[in-house]
């Protein structure tokens, strides 16, 4: 209790702040450059932007450095920063059919329009620890880049940006479920108002897009394992860059830059009801900032589950899923248990003591008899 009863609160905080900074610097290693973090920790930065809900790679890298590599804390810093910025525009809807494809796979079909593009992935490599990275030098990097460059035939480079989507093929054949009759198409902005449940689909998509990867993963996994609606098939998973446009005050569309996104369309079967004559395919949708395939896949599973899944399963419950995968709020609240609660605790102590006393008083008669009896045995 020393830090309260000895009025040193402000000093304690100042010292704690300096101490944690000391922990970051005490080994006197080379200062990390923001460009290094952005470049060599690409996936960490992408995760921070996705959970921080702000596409700003340099700021994400800065937050990552500041928070000593804690991705969720860095996302928190980014969110708080975002809250201070003026919202000036809403962009036009991005068109992922126009994505500059870096990676595109489908598990549902062996061949798809434009072909399967494996792209940059470690999926089919072994997770063996690579000791050659220990002493990586600038020479090693230059050597690798030179060799890689040598393998590219510049004459064969063709920019292929547009592929038809797998779901377009299914839709053309009439195999996709028609949209639900009571589908609420209202577009809300979760950063501008408190969300009331049941919430429209726009809320589900926004909140899942900025949810914490681990939380989304756990719930989607539970869904696949039987606590939900089971196993879907990836219609398409894409990673690449998309162009962002805004409308200027005169209404003209302006290109302001591109961002990287990962998109997943999950094909599932809906539950057949007595009324439904045809067991259509349905789509679950996931879209996240940067390269984060796990989150996009899991988001698509949960998104479909929330719309039409069996309600008994927690991973299909909109309120349950959206509230509890919100990383910044969940970390804050769970960690708040570290705050002093002694007044609250004292109040509960008081109550419990009175309850015990009441019980003892009521049993006093019984206790008298037992004491008499036990005295007899002691003789």
């Amino acid at each position: 209790m020393a830090y309260v009863s000895v009025k040193g609160g402000a000093d304690a905080i100042a010292n704690a702040k300096e101490l944690v900074e000391y922990y970051r610097l005490k080994h006197r290693t080379k200062p990390l450059e923001i460009k290094q973090l952005q470049s060599q920790f690409r996936l960490g930065i992408d995760k921070i932007m996705g959970e921080g809900s702000l596409y700003a790679p340099e700021y994400a890298a800065l937050a990552f450095k500041q928070m000593e590599g804690d991705v969720l804390e860095a996302a928190f810093v980014l969110r708080a920063f975002r809250a201070t910025l003026q919202r000036r525009y809403y962009s036009e809807i991005i068109n992922t059919r126009d994505m500059l494809i870096r990676r595109k796979i489908s598990s549902s079909f062996r061949e798809v329009p434009g072909g399967q593009v494996l792209g940059p992935t470690r999926d089919y490599t072994q997770r063996l620890i690579d000791s050659s990275k220990y002493n990586e030098s600038m020479e090693d990097i230059d050597k690798f880049l030179k060799e890689f460059d040598g393998k590219i035939d510049k004459k064969k480079l063709v920019e292929i940006t547009t592929f038809n989507k797998v779901i377009d093929l299914l839709r053309a054949e009439g195999l996709l479920m028609p949209a639900e009759a009571h589908y609420d198409k209202t577009v809300k902005d979760v950063t501008l108002e408190a969300i009331k449940f049941p919430a429209p689909r726009s809320v589900t998509l926004q909140m899942l897009a900025r949810a914490e990867t681990g939380g989304v993963l756990a719930l989607a996994y539970s869904s696949m394992r039987g606590f939900g609606d089971g196993h879907g098939t990836i219609g398409e998973l894409r990673y690449g860059s998309v162009k962002i446009h805004i409308s200027d005050p005169k209404g003209r569309k302006r290109y302001i830059g591109s961002i990287n996104v990962t998109e997943c369309e999950m094909i599932t079967k809906i539950n057949t009801t007595k009324e439904a004559k045809i067991p259509y395919f349905a789509i679950g949708y996931g879209l996240v900032f940067g390269h984060n395939e796990t989150k996009a896949i899991c988001m698509s599973i949960l998104e479909r589950g929330i719309r039409t899944g069996k309600k008994e399963n927690p991973s299909n419950n909109q309120e349950f899923v959206l509230y509890h995968t919100e990383g910044v709020e969940s970390t804050g609240f769970t960690n708040h248990l570290k705050l002093p609660h002694y007044v609250t605790f004292q109040s509960g102590l008081n109550n419990l003591r009175e309850s015990v006393k009441r019980n003892v008083d009521a049993n006093e008669e019984k206790m008298k008899v037992y004491r008499e009896m036990s005295k007899q045995f002691q003789k």
Binding site: V4, V328, L339, P340, R358
Partner: protein, 304 residues
């Protein structure tokens, strides 16, 4: 050095942007017009973690101005680490005057206590609230609790309180005891001890409540009826410290902190409200709240 300039941000007065402040202010006005009713609000992220006082911060930062003096307490103490952090943040973004003295403050942000000293009509108390929904313990779903408040359908709540009494001989709430405001809404007063509950009723000051994580604001205006839920034959009562005395001041008509001593067995009690204790020790004049429960304790002590 162009790169460094990019990351230097200057913040608006009181950190929050004016659009959000206006939204919070409009909602606070409606909250005052519907005492005890929880108004949803945008609750933007702050550089302070959720669950650590963002709601209280939103309210304070939306209302504070150049002429205000801020007091910040956590569990009754101004010097507690979290109180210091929040006070620093508000001071850094407003340059406001700060004080530990309850009487000097115009805005008092508090976590889980009302001051022992009576507040005046020139003061506003802002509560940090973890769980604004008093019915959450009997109903998990937000859309159902909202309906229950709309229809004044509080049967489930009364039943739960009654069941606790049947099981344990008393309504088992320690802190955050549910209250009925203006004969209409059941409200969560935040986890203040039962000792503080009677001071919400018919007060001189304005009470504002902010729950940041849950995104709700509510209010109790001055001179408003606030009654703890109780039964005809099972009445509300406050904690009783008449058996002990404060080890520093000898006072015992205040909420006490219990502290185990280093021998692991003996206990000492201290007045919880740190500024109140300071004033007692400095023999300064204090004006404490008065209510019927406190008066009963004072009478009983006098008769001893």
């Amino acid at each position: 050095m162009i790169e460094n300039k990019k990351f230097n941000t200057s913040y608006n007065y009181a950190f929050i942007d004016e659009t959000t402040k206006k939204e919070i202010r409009r909602k606070l006005l409606k909250a005052v017009c519907i005492p005890g009713y929880q108004v949803p609000y945008s609750s933007p992220e702050m550089p302070i973690a959720r669950g650590w006082g963002t709601g209280g911060l939103h309210v304070t930062l939306a209302i504070i101005g150049k002429s205000d003096t801020l007091k910040m307490i956590d569990q009754g103490s101004d010097a507690s680490v979290n109180a210091c952090n929040l006070r620093d943040f508000i001071h850094m973004t407003t340059d406001c005057a700060t004080t530990y003295d309850t009487v000097e403050a115009t805005i008092i942000q508090t976590r889980h206590r009302i001051t022992e000293e009576k507040l005046t009509d020139k003061q506003i108390m802002v509560f940090q609230v973890p769980q604004p929904e008093p019915l959450r313990m009997v109903e998990r779903y937000e859309y159902k609790t909202r309906q229950m408040h709309a229809e004044s359908d509080y049967a489930k709540m009364w039943l739960t309180l009654y069941e606790a009494f049947v099981k344990w001989g008393a309504v088992m709430h320690g802190a955050d005891y549910p209250v009925m405001v203006n004969n209409r809404y059941i409200m969560a007063p935040s986890p203040i001890p039962r000792w503080d509950i009677p001071n919400l009723n018919n007060a001189e000051c304005l009470y504002l409540f902010g729950a940041g994580r849950e995104k709700r604001l509510y209010a109790v205006p001055p001179h408003t009826k606030v009654e703890p839920l109780e039964f005809e034959d099972v009445k509300f009562h406050i904690e009783d410290f008449s058996d002990v005395k404060c080890a520093s001041s000898g006072y015992n008509i205040a909420y006490m902190d219990e502290m185990f001593q280093d021998d692991g067995v003996s206990k000492k009690f201290y007045v919880n409200d740190s500024n109140f204790l300071d004033k007692l020790l400095e023999k300064k004049k204090v004006i404490q709240h008065s209510n019927k429960y406190l008066n009963k304790i004072k009478d009983a002590l006098q008769r001893k």
